[in-house]
Homo-oligomer: 201 residues x 4
């Protein structure tokens, strides 16, 4: 019973890494996650299969890293904070929906959501590194509104965040109905009634 030595990351080929991640993201968009194979990634990347197996634990891990890699270029998340809570939330939900219906995002993101169902490790990676920043930023915006008295003091902000994104997620994953800009508005309005102080906002 011997454990292989961990690969020496200092010798890692950056060229190969980039080629693999790019190939993975491209392929998942072309053929879907289910039809994506390590073999195809290796071929497209011009890389030996072993180079993939050496550095990633699973197909899901490669694709996930591919996502992060693509995200890296796109800068940080900054949420609008105009002071007008309703407007800010509506904008936020609208852009969330815009993202989800963008085909370049939809396909791979659905794949990820499928994959995390049988890979808890991947799920926590997703939540920590991809979703986390957005959820945290949303929480921050709500906290600022709460301090400004626009949101009742007793509201659990974690729950509030889920109240915002949960319905969208529900509709998107189950495809029960189309996601539209109007939906974002209606949802924001309804959630605000839940969070509000009761005073007129």
């Amino acid at each position: 019973m011997s454990t292989r030595p961990p690969p020496d990351a200092t010798r890692r080929s950056e060229r190969a890494r980039r080629a693999i991640l790019t190939a993975a993201v491209d392929l998942v968009a072309e053929v879907g996650y289910a039809n994506l194979t390590i073999e195809a990634i290796a071929a497209r990347a011009g890389v030996g299969k072993q180079t993939i197996y050496r550095w990633w634990r699973s197909k899901g891990a490669v694709v996930f890293d591919g996502f992060l890699f693509r995200q890296e270029v796109g800068g940080d998340i900054t949420l609008p904070d105009t002071g007008d809570l309703r407007a800010d939330l509506t904008t936020l939900l609208r852009s969330t929906i815009d993202d989800l219906v963008d085909p370049r995002v939809e396909a791979p993101y659905r794949a990820l959501n499928a994959e995390i169902q049988h890979d808890p490790q991947l799920a926590s990676d997703l939540v920590d590194h991809l979703l986390g920043p957005l959820l945290e930023a949303t929480r921050q915006r709500l906290r600022s509104a709460q301090r400004a008295g626009q949101i009742a003091a007793d509201v659990d902000l974690n729950l509030a965040v889920e109240l915002l994104y949960g319905p969208i997620y529900h509709r998107w994953l189950l495809r029960t109905a189309p996601l539209t800009a109007g939906y974002a508005e209606a949802l924001a309005a309804l959630v605000l009634r839940a969070l509000g102080t009761g005073s007129s906002t």
Copy 2:
């Protein structure tokens, strides 16, 4: 290019059908959806592989039918309607959560939610036949409350339903935090504030 003739359903073996569905549901719980194979289902069911391929289009379709088959025995959905909306919704969400954390439900249901991401046909089957009745029943309960003046007349009940289930679904699928009875209560309370007429209920 010829399409095969559809099999003659009148000659279909009920024995084989039951064995296959039972084997599928059992196996998906034992080994998980990703590790489930048609060959294993056929072997467990004592059935030729062709008999599965003859009647189902995919692994997902078999598992889905397996679910429906198991559901058939369990009777119809009836939601509590005591007149106390808050109590009724809390009960409803609590039992939803109980279901989702029950390991016998969780494993195969996660599998289904993964599968529908790359099979829209299966998604619509799921929504129509498994989820549909529950969502519709929930809508009915809310409508009755709306008529009773407990819910504002301008509230879109489809949205209201998503406000109830979305957060749970979000938390369950992404595993951002544990689902507890307390969560059901807090969620019901918050949603009620969104739906309420503003008058004390």
Copy 3:
């Protein structure tokens, strides 16, 4: 452990039998023996598969019966006996070769020769019912020549028959060289030297 009762031949459908045998012979010529299936025979004959399995033991048996069935029309074998042994044998070998290179005979006959290698029962059927009459007739012609003093008295006529057909069979099965009319002549001449009395013929 129960043996099925033998089928009642009096109820047998002559129409089905003819259709099956005809289909079998036609198909073996079209697709070759290896690619011939019971299913295809049944389909072509407009017959249930069970009807074939009821009356024949194997694919080989059907094809063989098909041959016999086609032969039935073709009358008895009569060999030339002009008194000129050399001429008669040359004619005989020539017509044998003509048969073997006729594509309508070649394909199915090769199939049969292949099949008998792993079906001794079929081999003995072939020798008894298809080849036997020709071999026996040849033996008779040689016997008459032996009585006339054209063949040495000590010659084993079974061996003599094999000396005639063996080389042709060898060349035909192994495709070592083409079978021509000239070959028939040369072979007949050489064999005659083996059989001869030594006196001038």
Copy 4:
């Protein structure tokens, strides 16, 4: 429509090749050619099926190579040449018959003879690589006898070779009668009369 690249023979596993050929020859003797499957060969050889499909075009090709492989060990063919033609030919035919009735040879060799009926490529391989050397050696022995005046100068030696082996082949393939040592003697004697110069030898 793309053709797969030819495998890189330099990387080929000799261990796998030997195991496959041995398994193929053994199995064909045990279960017969018709019941021989690629899967069984792979299983017996402890080899993946793909390794067989990578290097051979068909089941027949594997079995044929198996024969060649077994032959390789048993060195070259050397025919007796004592000067006594009758004795030498009798010995030759006798050992030919001994081979053909040896069960270890009979089963796979029958299989090959069946297979070449619907695979001309295999037929020519068989004649060139397995039978060829023996036929050529026999021709050489006869040529030496012809030069020594023991065989008439006008005899076609190709035909003479067929006169020797054809009858044995005929009897062996059709199973018309048993092959014995006495048969070898009688056949050799008769053929010699065909080949002889007419003078007493």
